[in-house]
Symmetry: C2
Subunit: 156 residues, 2 copies
């Protein structure tokens, strides 16, 4: 297999992010929350604006049907409520139940993986943030090209 330096870097990144994601899953698992659930709980708990399923779909970079299935499961578990707005047809606002707020607080307390960059120097951390911004911009550009339209366009 002849990999160039970018493809070798990608292999490194893919392995590293798999390990970090796995560690995050395990740590959140100890407080009874999954990674997608933690993301929903965080977005809903911290958003100044009402959160709709479509907004979560954009924030989490996942298709509406994936988010819809996730929200249905979270509602069944008593973590969120979906409130319909009668004036705006099918507009739905996602809010946290008491149990959802407690789960949000518990996942906030799981700090080890979220502080993993403590092993980097201040300069490295700045460099990492700068590279993440570049890679994210490029990733969104690639996704725009790769996503089947017409679904792709309004989301990105």
């Amino acid at each position: 297999m002849d990999l160039n330096e970018n493809e070798m870097a990608w292999a490194e990144m893919a392995v590293t992010s798999t390990i970090l994601r796995r560690a995050w899953e395990m740590e959140l698992g100890q407080v009874g929350v999954t990674v997608p659930q933690a993301l929903v709980l965080t977005f809903v708990a911290t958003s100044a604006e009402p959160v709709t399923p479509m907004k979560l779909s954009r924030l989490m970079h996942r298709e509406p049907h994936t988010i819809s299935a996730l929200l249905t499961r979270m509602q069944a578990q008593g973590l969120i409520k979906k409130e319909r707005n009668l004036e705006r047809g099918n507009w739905v606002r996602v809010t946290l139940t008491k149990k959802g707020k407690e789960a949000y607080e518990r996942q906030l307390g799981a700090r080890r993986v979220r502080n993993i960059t403590e092993c980097l120097s201040k300069q490295e951390l700045e460099s990492l943030n700068r590279m993440n911004r570049k890679l994210r911009a490029k990733g969104i550009e690639l996704l725009r090209d790769l996503l089947p339209s017409p679904f792709g366009d309004p989301l990105w």
Copy 2:
């Protein structure tokens, strides 16, 4: 929400890696391969040593039962074969079928996401590789702590 600079960096990394993973899934989807399948195909195609399910479990940082289910699906799709070694009891070697080798070649041709670090300078790429090594070592350390023993130990 009061996040420190590490936790903010983590949020950036989590979003970026989600977007990159999503783009990779989409690109591989165009050649009919999933991300976990591409990893198995690559490990089996490029390994100098015989590949066992346990070895894949270590390489992919996933539990044996997850890998077992993945391999069963890939076998049903005609991508891999599991060859039993009669001399070594339950020792199983994973090999690629003709269809599996073709799928491996197709995924090799999907190069856009794997070359995404082209948007970084040479110096940044070196710095990224160095940080990935540090983060990976720390991630494996955390996983060792987080994984329920006795399963955790032999794997890491």
